[in-house]
Subunit: 223 residues, 2 copies
C-alpha cells in the first residue's frame, strides 16, 4: 500500500472492502434501530439489537466497528446518529444513477418500484428493442431503443446497469454495457455473466431464491 | 433414520436437504443448458458448462449428483432430459401458490411480475389495509383486507407468504401468517423476522444487495 495523507487514509477507511456478510447484516441493524427510534428509544446497545434480532452481540459490535461510530459505555449508540451513519455508510444517502436493460415483466416491475430511490438507486432510463415500448415512459422513466445506449451514456451520469433481459442475450448486453462505461451490473437474470476483474457484479436471482425456498419447504413436509 | 420402503427412499432422496450453495448454482446450469439447447446442442458435459460459466467441472458434477440424472461417458448429459430433470428438481414445474402481504411499491411490482409463474410461484391473492386498494385487482390478482386473511386461507390452498410490508409491522404480519398456517415466508423487507424452527424463511433484501454493490463500486473507484 502506498503511503497516504490523513485525508486519503480517512477516505480509504470509509471505502474499505467490507466483508459481504457484514454488509448484508448492517441493513438488519439499520431497520431494527429505526424501529427502536419509532418506539421512542434514544440510545441503543448491541446487546439490545442482539435480543431483538437474535444475532450475537459480539458479532453486531464487530460489524459496527467497520462503521465510523463509537458507542458510550453502558449507554450505547445514540439512535439518530447510528441511523444517519449507517445509511451513509451503506450508500443509501447518495443517489446512484442506473440504466435498466430489458423492460419485460421483471424489468417493468423494477421501474415501477419507487422504493429503490429510498435506498440510493435511481433508474434514470431503460432500454429495450420492443417497438411498442421504445419512446414511451414507465413511472416517468423514459424507454430508449437499445441502439441509443452509447449516446445516452454521454448524456446521463450513470455507472450502474440493471440487467433484466432474457438469458440468451444476457452476456451480449453485459459486454455492451461494459464497453459503454458501466462499472457495476445488478444481474437479475438466472444467467452467470462473465465480466472483467474491475467490474462489480451483484447477482440477485429471484429464481435461485425460489429454488432454495421450495426445497426447504418440501424437506419440512417430508421429514 | 427409520427403515424405509423403496418408494419412501426415492421420495426422501428427492427432497433431501440440498446445500444452499448447490441450490443457488443449479439455476445457473439450467439457464446455461437452455442456451446450449437453443444453439442446437443435444448433449452437454460438465466440462462444457464449466467453460461457459467459469465454475470447476468437478463442482458442477458434484452439484448435479444431487439431481437424479446420469450422464454417459464422453457424451455427457442429454440436454432435454437435463433441463426437464433440473426444472423438476428445483421445483419450477410444480405451481406453488402464495399470498402477498403489503401492496406498496415493491409488493405491487411483484404482483405485476408474471415471470414468477414460470418458476413455480403463483401469487393468488394479496392483502393490504389501504381502502383504495382493498377490493381491487392488480394484474388480475385480488387484493383483500388483511382482516380477511384467515378466511382466505381456508378458501385457497396456500402455504407460502410473500412479505412486502413496512418494517414496523413485518414481525406482526409474520406472526399472523404463521398462526394462519403459512409454512414459508419469502421476506423482501430489510427486517430480520423471527419464526418457529419448522417455518422456512427466504430473505431477499434488494437493499442489502444494493449496499454490497455500492460498497464494491466505491472500493473500485478509490483503489
Amino acid at each position: 500500500m502506498k503511503k497516504m495523507t490523513t485525508n486519503q487514509a480517512i477516505q480509504y477507511k470509509d471505502s474499505m472492502k467490507v466483508p459481504e456478510p457484514t454488509l448484508r447484516r448492517l441493513p438488519w441493524y439499520l431497520s431494527n434501530v429505526k424501529l427502536l427510534k419509532q418506539r421512542g428509544e434514544r440510545y441503543v446497545s448491541s446487546t439490545q439489537i442482539s435480543k431483538e434480532i437474535n444475532i450475537d452481540a459480539s458479532q453486531i459490535a464487530k460489524d459496527l466497528s467497520y462503521v465510523n461510530i463509537s458507542g458510550r459505555t453502558r449507554v450505547g449508540y445514540e439512535v439518530d446518529t447510528l441511523i444517519a451513519v449507517l445509511e451513509d455508510f451503506l450508500g443509501f444517502t447518495d443517489m446512484h444513477k442506473a440504466f435498466l436493460f430489458g423492460v419485460g415483466s421483471l424489468g417493468g416491475a423494477l421501474l415501477r418500484d419507487s422504493g429503490l430511490k429510498h435506498f440510493g438507486l435511481e433508474i434514470v432510463a431503460a432500454f429495450d428493442v420492443n417497438p411498442e415500448l421504445v419512446g414511451t415512459t414507465l413511472n416517468g422513466i423514459p424507454i430508449f431503443h437499445s441502439s441509443e445506449f452509447e449516446q445516452k451514456m454521454r448524456e446521463y451520469d450513470v455507472n450502474i446497469g440493471v440487467l433484466t433481459v432474457p438469458i440468451e442475450i444476457a452476456q451480449c448486453i453485459t459486454d455492451t454495457m461494459i464497453a459503454g462505461g458501466i462499472k457495476a451490473v445488478w444481474n437479475f437474470t438466472p444467467f452467470r455473466i462473465r465480466v472483467p476483474e474491475n467490474i462489480v457484479v451483484q447477482n440477485t436471482s429471484l429464481y435461485a431464491h425460489l429454488a432454495v425456498m421450495f426445497n426447504r419447504l418440501n424437506f419440512n413436509e417430508i421429514k
